[in-house]
Symmetry: C2
Subunit: 200 residues, 2 copies
């Protein structure tokens, strides 16, 4: 299989992390999102949304959306909760990640770490950080009472939330305020086949 | 089971529609989001994110996130694709809905239909509508070649996208520009047990 990705992306890192945990071989095709390489006609035929990551199967089918890719790769593996309630909880946190976490933490990181902010973005940054801290507080509250997000084991829910949480410092977030998150990051980083994001 | 909901919400409507398609009985608990009723201590104990809908099971467990609730209710029913690729495609469109559709179409509708817009919201409205139209264009492109979003049948992917698409007019969107979406809405509305959103 091939993964169309940008190695500075936390959404892409989720997929690369699961593939590494699984010991699955794949070909990485890098697209620099900073140069418009995900808005070419060739790329839009793979994902009309113009976003990485996109998984390309050996028979040429394409699957966008990082958390849908995680689900597809994890079915029938140890990284998917075994019971229906556990799977529901995994998706609950994966939708939380895409709606209430990524739009604030990933965007603040992108503005501070990858681009020169526009005056409008400079004004909006503190609101993005406030909302990102609200997401981190909800995670902290859960992790104060549970080791993992869905069921009793490391799963794709943890991988989905790890993607941008472990690089939140690059978005101006102080993870020192969240001791349970810090312990959870260490638990994830001790899993077999773990990989952190490459520095960018 | 009980559904904590606000009947003006498209996210809530998704769940009510699937429950009606399934013929499943449930108790509806209405929380007026316009009066802060989802930010009380009682509600936050059900969902720390302070958002409806939340499914409460008969044994008192809680599940937030509309699309996670759809998944949980649809497992082992005709509304879930039967093969792994179909399930992956369903999730691909459900994550698209929460990341690239709802934040624009639902927000434009909320501003125009439920509240008096602030001056800042009035400035941001046209960008929300532009992004919402981008999402509708991606749906139109898919529906020009396929009857349904995932696999060959009506599924939770269609229900997830129906929630805010069928009331997009209340957000200032002109569905007359999207003939394939209009045909798809009619196909959904002919399904057994269909319910439209109650007027608000």
């Amino acid at each position: 299989m091939r993964l169309h990705d940008f190695t500075g992306s936390g959404n892409g890192h989720k997929v690369r992390l699961l593939l590494s945990n699984l010991g699955q071989e794949y070909e990485l095709i890098e697209h620099n999102i900073l140069n418009g390489e995900t808005h070419t006609a060739d790329f839009l035929a793979r994902n009309p949304g113009g976003k990485i990551p996109v998984l390309e199967t050996d028979d040429g089918k394409h699957l966008p959306e990082s958390n849908a890719i995680l689900w597809y790769l994890a079915e029938d593996t140890a990284f998917m909760p075994k019971d229906a309630w556990g799977r529901a909880q995994a998706l609950r946190w994966m939708f939380f990640e895409q709606y209430s976490h990524e739009p604030y933490i990933a965007v603040a990181r992108f503005w501070l770490h990858f681009v020169d902010m526009t005056p409008e973005q400079k004004i909006q940054l503190s609101e993005k950080q406030d909302r990102g801290n609200q997401a981190l507080e909800i995670m902290e509250q859960h992790l104060a009472a549970h080791d993992w997000f869905a069921g009793d084991n490391y799963s794709i829910a943890d991988i989905a939330l790890y993607g941008y949480t472990h690089v939140a410092g690059e978005g101006g977030f102080d993870l020192g305020k969240y001791p349970s998150i810090k312990s959870w990051l260490l638990r994830i980083e001790s899993q077999k086949g773990h990989i952190a994001m490459e520095p960018h």
